[in-house]
């Protein structure tokens, strides 16, 4: 739009101060770990944000070439350490697909319960720390209180609170202890009102909406182009959930379960909170939607857990035996992705027929989700960088492996 009588080379611009190159991280409260983002800013405006990763690189893939698949399970725990169960499951399913090993019905439901519980725990951390990124401390405490309850449940089944190595190739390490299902039911009943509390503190808070709505808008095409998955992709309005759309070897686990894929399609979410419409300022693909998808998924996971508990109690038989520690693997290459809380977590195993894989590969969801950061941060304010980063919900353990 040219204005008459104005020299085209003369542009209207505001007074600008010096450009500053500033390091956000690796020691920074809101980079969610040891991430370094180099910001080139003009005053408060970010001109360029470049993430630098690798501070937590622990050579997991190299280790995977030197240990047997079952021995590698503890290493998968330490990838997305906020959702260790989902990591265990991803690797186990991948190896099971290579072995063509099917787990018993009971183990299938057990896995669903455990994995969905961990999804809630992971989303709680995401929502809580997101509040923290935006300067609100209290939701963080509420979320962590509930997460501790989930960890108590996990401690009962496997003795560990963070790195479980519970789900394993061929089933799980142990069945639920007696009385566990009642405790889980009790937790679910306690947790339901907490979701509303979090909604009241964050989702419906005007300041929260102003800080997140319309910020870091990620269009669906860009999200797919960058390989974003999980809530990040669904927050952009793509109804894509591997639990429904994934590899048959994985979706079979959820056979007979009813759940919604949480994504806003045609202007509405499959689940809606009565009296609380999506705020007008929110644009599909912005931070608010990414956050909101996670919150709704918590409720969806609760539904899945309830169904799983019912199916588990009805299922007969055992939960299967784990394979031998040094079991010989058939020759072949298998790649399998599962829907982890952060996104699609892919594992690949290349076997030459020995007990130890020739190559083990982990495709990290946070890795791809983070790669879109510089795209999202162009032209935002410094205060938006933590907001965008928090809405991507990354875990550095998984990115750096």
């Amino acid at each position: 739009m040219a204005v008459e009588g104005v020299d085209p080379e003369v542009a209207e611009c505001d007074v600008r101060t010096d450009e500053i190159l500033i390091n956000m991280g690796p020691q920074h409260p809101s980079t969610h770990g040891v991430l370094r983002v180099v910001l080139r800013t003009d005053g408060e405006v970010v001109l360029e944000a470049t993430p630098h990763i690798g501070y937590l690189h622990r050579c997991a893939e190299k280790i995977g070439e030197n240990v047997s698949p079952r021995q590698w399970i503890p290493y998968t725990d330490r990838m997305d350490y906020l959702a260790g169960m989902n990591m265990n499951l991803g690797w186990s399913l991948c190896v099971e697909k290579l072995l063509k090993l099917e787990v018993p019905e009971k183990a299938r439901h057990l896995r669903v319960i455990i994995v969905e519980l961990n999804r809630i725990a992971s989303h709680l951390v995401a929502a809580g720390t997101y509040g923290l990124d935006l300067g609100s401390f209290t939701p963080f405490m509420y979320a962590f209180r509930e997460r501790e309850k989930i960890y108590d449940l996990f401690e009962l089944v496997c003795g560990a609170r963070l790195t479980y190595s519970y789900i394993t190739i061929g089933g799980a390490m142990a069945d639920f202890p007696s009385g566990w299902l009642e405790k889980c039911e009790k937790f679910l009943n306690e947790f339901e009102p907490v979701v509303d509390e979090l909604h009241a503190l964050l989702t419906d808070n005007t300041i929260f909406i102003r800080r997140t709505a319309g910020i870091g808008v990620l269009p669906a095409e860009v999200a797919i182009d960058y390989g974003c998955t999980g809530p990040v992709l669904r927050g952009s309005g793509v109804a894509w959930d591997l639990r429904r759309d994934g590899d048959p070897w994985y979706t079979r686990m959820y056979e007979g379960y009813e759940f919604h894929v949480i994504a806003q399609t045609n202007g509405r979410y499959p689940v809606e909170r009565p009296g609380h419409p999506v705020p007008k300022a929110a644009v599909l693909g912005d931070c608010w939607h990414r956050y909101y998808v996670r919150m709704l998924e918590c409720v969806e996971s609760m539904r899945l857990i309830r169904q799983g508990m019912e199916k588990y109690s009805r299922a007969k038989g055992g939960i299967g035996e784990p394979i031998k520690l040094m079991q010989k693997l058939p020759k072949g290459e298998v790649y399998l992705e599962t829907e982890a809380p952060k996104g699609q977590m892919g594992f690949m195993i290349v076997s030459d027929g020995a007990a130890i894989p020739w190559r083990a590969r982990a495709r990290s969801s946070s890795f791809c989700n983070l790669s879109v950061l510089s795209e999202l941060c162009r032209g935002c304010l410094i205060a938006d960088v933590p907001a965008i980063l928090g809405s991507l919900d990354i875990v550095l353990g998984e990115i750096d492996r």
Partner: protein, 373 residues
Amino acid sequence: MADFLAIWLPSWLALTLAALVHVTLILTLALTAAAAFTWAERKVAGRIQDRLGPTRVGGRFGWLQAVADGLKLVSKEDIIPRNADPLLFRTAPYVSFCASFCVYLALPFANGWVAQPLDIAVFFVLAVAGLEVLGVILGGYASGSKWSLFGAMREAAQVVSYEVPLALCAVIPVMVAGTMDLVAIGNMQAGWAWNWLIFHNPFLFITFFIYFTCAVASVNRAPFDLPEAESELVAGFLTEYSGFRWSVFFMAEYASMFAVSMLAAILFLGGWNGPLPITVWLGLAPNPATGYEPHALLAYFGNFLGMVNILIKATLGVLLMMWARWTLPRLRIDQVMTMCLKYCIPLAAVMFVGTMIYLYAFPVGLIFRSGGG
């Protein structure tokens, strides 16, 4: 007080002594308030977050937590970064503290209980309170860290902007009262609660809330704590500070929180006068209707009750700020500025004009009976 001491002492000694006593009293109050509020902050935060807060130090309620914190801070290593400007880095906390502390010089705690009675006390308080930002800017710049510099710049932008609506809001009760003398403003709100200036007219009622919002912003409390903004700027201007210097900044923050709350209490909430004229009933305060003048000792006791009253009001204001801090997310810098320039200033101006028209239309006021001092 100086006149009282001058009966026995040479006047210069009397003046010095009186000044010392005043300063000691105010310092004690400011520091005690800071300590008490650190503890209260932790306790309030704990309760809001469904946990207990401090429980170990000093018995069940952790009364001595503030002392423990203080000891810890004092015994921490004092670090001055290599890139810092050592002189300014060292001076900055004290500049901040002095500014927020000097405010108390002109703040009355009860009828006539003020360190330095000034007939332009409101103006003085606003002028001095605005100087706290100097220390923050110096500290942020002298740290030689970019995060600190960002924090300082934010502080400058924010505080300098919010001074305007804050002063505008403070002027409105001044206009109603017809004086800038805080003692006089406090005294004219004696009697029942409807004599408080906040209930003088609807515009003043709204003004109080604008004032409080701007006050929260000008002392950098959440949701306006952008200069610190721990999730964005690490710790803003405080990033490079540690130990004692950090705690001086911290005390300055609490002192000014308390100061703006006290100013709010005097300007809007009746100052040292309770909602009921209890002191008049008990014969502890002069009764204008009967011309009763209490004995000096009784008046002293009445003033003491008044001081308790105003301290409670100011503390409630601080607690309100804490509540907001532990509930709300932080605003973004442009939103903070928008709020100031687009909403607070125009609203305050409208309230100013509204009050002016109201005063013109109802010179004696509708329910405000003892107006005009």
